[in-house]
Symmetry: C2
Subunit: 345 residues, 2 copies
DNA sequence: TCGCATCATCACAGCGCTACGATCGGGGAC
DNA sequence: GTCCCCGATCGTAGCGCTGTGATGATGCGA
């Protein structure tokens, strides 16, 4: 019998080839020093630093962030939850946030709610299971359980793209009601009196609904009763064409239209063109988003630019400040928006 | 002296309130059984299952995926690396992939290369530090170190959105050269003989360059020397306007144009409109992408639909098959593309 | 010369979970 | 009645790293 020892080595899959202690051995220092080298390089003496750097390069060592996250009780991940990245606004924010976080060694864990609060709750639950450095979500409306989950977890939370109600923790966004009001006043200032707001999927997209209410309220302030039209399907040019058709039937002399989105505005613009309604003379049209094609349209689209990338950068700033332990005084940052005055309205 | 024990408890931050062993205690089973309950519920007897479910609900237990990932030597994360989600094609793929993966408890860790191979390498390095269930990246071109890193790590790798060279592991995409050829043949079949390909950022966007070469090759096969024009800036409508201007100056009788992207095509379309060049009679125009506005343009844009969501779903299928240990025979899946015949070209 | 900071380095006990292998009963098969 | 197999359950040793406190080594003023 060659029963070599008292206990057989238990079979266990190894995670990786090179570990920190192997690097330590190669560099002739302890594992703690290697760990320190990665976390606070300045606390390691230059000779040791050099030896470790050499060993890392030679062995091709890649630190295991999963183990690190477990030991440190917090992982270098920021969980980002948006309705959908197919929406250009959120794509811009995701991109800007990732770009701002990457230099600090933070990764983005992405989830899509598709405007479903139950799905959001499930996403928050799994997000928290990663012990993330921060959780970033869209909007201020969440299920009660989601709020409870977020409050219980002692993690920085940023709610973005909306402003109004107090955030769970921090907020970055702008006032969608003010956007609607700005558009209404723009149209009225140009002499429009028969106003309509054409939105898509407003039963789900609460921010679009806020723009609609802000629009109607500003109109009412000048004694105008604006129509609000909603298309239940996706916010695309087809919806815009359909909505213009409806607007023209319900309000034949409509002369000013706000669209919930540039794609919708574009659809309305083309539909007007097909019907030979001159834009902006007969019908003024204002969009939302300032998407890449807005300036190129004929006529160029007047629209609202929401600074989606600024939202991403501000979120990153707050998250990083919190991680560094700096006090964050501003509970809610207003990123504002700009009325881009072009020709259509 | 109330030195209670021989060794003081070392100060250490706890990661979470409720752990698996607390659930086990509450359900009156061992921690192993609770773990089994989450991983293979059917292997746990119904009474135990019920007791555990109750304890989980009562305590509000959320499993710690970081600890799980460390113990299992693999985390339930798929690392996804794309040039940019601001690009609608990739946004669609990211969205479809996330949707297909989420029901299986897999999260998406997102990174943007911005078309930079060095940045891609850094992203792959951090991605691997998460011991991901799979790594998904864009295109077949990578730095030698990136390829080495991916090969050494025993992880499923999927390269997407391109087809041609053999993939590191698995591939999902379509032939961009064939796209270019299809567009060229379409234009020639409609009697066009003066052809140009208008692309943007082709020094970086290798797939756009492949479409251009395929276009030129198919034209040459019929004795036509197509012009290839490149705009170094981003692929937006402004680039399209600029490129049409250049095309008209370099090739005054140009009658057929392929654009590297629907946004570029749209810019060219509007520019043609401004110059009163009838589309498609004087100038036929074909885009790429079938973005939401393509059908709404006036005239509706003939374009290529690349099935970005199918790419995402197929990637998910391969990743899941690999994780289940099923043999994946197809090294490279062709998702194809469709010529959407509308009016512009 | 001694005492006391200061700095670099180290040892080690976990972080919470999974996977292996062992244990324990309760049926069939013979 | 005995044996064996199989399903359910459990005990335990890590997974690779970090953070704390301890240990030397060094410098400096008194």
């Amino acid at each position: 019998m060659d029963d070599a020892g008292p206990m057989r080595r238990r079979g266990r899959r190894k995670m990786q080839a090179v570990t920190m202690s192997e690097v330590a051995a190669a560099a002739d220092v302890s594992a703690s020093t290697v760990s320190l080298y990665f976390r606070r390089p300045k606390s390691v003496s230059p000779p040791a630093r050099e030896a470790i750097a050499r060993a890392v390069a030679e062995l091709g060592y890649v630190p295991n962030l999963v183990a690190g996250g477990l030991a440190a009780a917090s992982s270098r991940v920021v969980s980002l939850i948006v309705p959908s990245v197919r929406n250009a606004f959120f794509a811009e924010t995701v991109s800007a946030l990732e770009a701002a976080l990457a230099p600090h060694g933070l990764q983005v864990l992405l989830g899509h709610t598709e405007y479903d609060l139950a799905r959001e709750e499930a996403l928050v639950r799994t997000a928290l299971a990663w012990a993330p450095a921060a959780v970033v979500l869209t909007g201020l409306e969440h299920s009660p359980d989601t709020r409870a989950l977020l409050k219980k977890a002692r993690v920085p939370v940023v709610e973005m793209w909306e402003r109004g109600a107090p955030p769970v923790d921090m907020g970055v966004g702008f006032d969608h009601g003010a956007v609607g009001a700005t558009v209404a006043r723009r149209l009225m200032a140009r002499g429009r009196r028969r106003l309509a707001f054409c939105g898509a999927r407003m039963q789900e997209d609460r921010r679009a609904a806020q723009r609609a209410s802000g629009f109607a309220a500003a109109a009412r302030a000048e004694g105008i009763e604006a129509a609000i039209l909603n298309h239940p399907g996706p916010a695309d040019p087809q919806a815009g064409a359909l909505l213009l058709d409806r607007a023209l039937r319900e309000l034949p002399d409509v002369d000013g239209i706000a669209a919930s989105n540039d794609l919708v505005a574009m659809g309305a613009l083309f539909e007007a063109q097909r019907r030979s309604l001159p834009v902006p003379d007969r019908l003024a049209l204002v969009g939302f988003g300032d998407l890449p094609f807005a300036a190129a349209c004929v006529p160029p689209l007047t629209t609202i630019r929401p600074a989606g990338d600024l939202v991403g950068r501000e979120v990153a700033r707050l998250v990083l400040a919190r991680m560094r332990g700096e006090p964050v005084l501003e509970r809610a940052v207003d990123t504002g928006f700009v009325l881009v005055e072009r020709v259509s309205g």
